[in-house]
């Protein structure tokens, strides 16, 4: 039987967890796998999976998230976790968990039944070196240590529309150094598709490159 892929993406606020979660789920679906994408951001009203739920479902991914209009007082003091999300790990197939809202958000995994006992669960920290709180090796090391259990690092270094090859390669170098100090592997480096002609299959640190498409710009509300 196929080993299910179960990944939880945690990390600094606005580091790229949701964008990577969506792209990863799509990639798995395109390999012919059954995928569920779970929105575990229980604080942020903006930039979560809710607004693109229908779009992603039409693309063949099951999305477990509130529909915006079904919530009450959205974003005032956070949201109640959608009840079925507490047992999301019992679902068959692959699971990508988008654990939102930064440092405090990592604790949301505590609400998911069996999270820490699950033999397949991998917890990945998403890092963008252009984010000032995680822009140096010591800052990244300190931040990841603070997150608790981290099985891998996803390098998502970018500067939005101003991303260029220098930003990408510099990010790879810094994340790699942090990875070596922490003895936690870099799983892949995410880069927007349109940079494909200037960057090959590996970045300068030897990490595999995962080319992504932007979806989160449509999730403003």
């Amino acid at each position: 039987m196929d080993i299910p892929i179960v990944e939880a993406y945690i990390g600094e606020y606005a580091s790229g967890k949701s964008e990577n979660a969506v792209n990863r789920a799509l990639w798995l679906k395109n390999q012919g796998r059954k995928v569920t994408l779970a929105d575990l951001d229980i604080v942020e009203p903006f930039y979560t999976l809710r607004p693109i739920k229908k779009k992603l479902e039409e693309m063949g991914i099951e999305v477990m998230a509130w529909e915006s209009r079904k919530t009450m007082g959205l974003g005032e003091t956070g949201n109640i976790i959608k009840p079925e999300l507490r047992w999301v790990l019992k679902r068959p197939g692959d699971l990508i968990l988008d654990v939102g809202y930064g440092v405090e958000g990592a604790k949301t995994l505590n609400l998911v039944h069996g999270a820490y006992d699950n033999p397949y669960l991998k917890i990945y920290a998403v890092i963008n070196v252009s984010r000032p709180m995680t822009s140096t090796v010591p800052d990244i090391v300190e931040y990841i240590k603070y997150l608790g259990r981290v099985d891998g690092i996803i390098n998502n270094t970018h500067l939005g529309d101003e991303t260029d090859i220098e930003v990408i390669q510099n990010g790879a170098k810094i994340v790699n150094e942090a990875s070596q100090e922490l003895k936690i592997p870099v799983i892949f480096t995410s880069v927007e598709k349109h940079h494909q002609d200037i960057l090959g299959n590996r970045d300068c640190a030897g990490n595999p490159v995962f080319y992504i498409q932007r979806f989160m710009s449509e999730t403003f509300w």
Binding site: E76, R131, P132, S135, G160
Partner: protein, 361 residues
Amino acid sequence: MAAKPIEGEKKVFVTGNEATAWAALAAGADIMYGYPITPQNEIMHYWTRLAPKHGKKFLQTEDEISAGFTCLGGVFSGKKAFTATAGPGNTLMQEPMSMAEMMRVPAVFVICQRGGPSTATVIYSQQETTLTCFGGNGEGLRIVYSTESHQELFDYTIKAFNTAWKYRFPTFVLGDGYQSKMRESLVMYDPEARGIEMVKPEPIVRKPGIPGVDRKPIHLRNTYNMEDELYDAVMDIVNDFKKMSPEVVEYATFDCEDADVLILAHGVVSRAAQGAVKQLREEGLKVGHFRPITLRPFPQEELKKYAKKAKNILVVESAYGQFDKMVKENIYGVSTPIKQYFRPGEGITVEEVVQEAKELI
């Protein structure tokens, strides 16, 4: 000597709230007084994460009334102090903001507009424009910067401290929930590395020396006995406000010189207006946009000049007439017809502004 929070300059990718927190740090703010309310919470979160590394302080109070008053207290003691709020919090904070007006306290307030009235939505609006400019029981003797981008949140938060301490008016950075949460790249810098001279704070109470001997006693008043005393006190502030205005007022113009249709907008809506002007000019249409950057003091003379020349004015805002009222008050006497596009609590796109402007051509 402790390292500066930002050395030189660097390009980063941040949300607006973070830009504000970093700017306050770069400006040398000593303490933030805060009470949580969406969408400004991350200003507090980032400030409290950064504060211990840079010897800064933070106090969470029991509500916004207290956050405002304690902020004034921090300023009295000679610290660069600021606070941030939104929506119903802004409503509550008007009491301390009024005191700041009366007592000329250089406190900095960051406002992240959300829906109104009351709790409404946590997201966005421009419905706190009137409140931020004229709230409380006073005459709106405040300085208000209406920003449109992360770079401006950074630049104007730094400027707000300088403006406040130089001219001694409570100074506001008027943002909104969209700016707070949007993700954009930004150039963060050490203001002194850019030649910006930072105004030093000084104690307002407990100045050195013996009162009555080395100096006059300090008597900060927000209460007066008789009508004529109050008249003199208020007129003093009004006169200082008028004197300060030409030095502080800021605005931006986009193709206004020969504009037949003049679009008026402030804050983030200005970005849609700018996009509309660009598109319409490419189609050969004479459309321009005037953007007040300071809402208080309002760039009255400059706007009047362009308003007179235009054949039609289009006022665009994410509120129901708050900016429109300010425009009308300031261009009184100009007979150019005004069309309004009001979207209380909703974002406004370039396409919408283009459509509205085209109807006037």
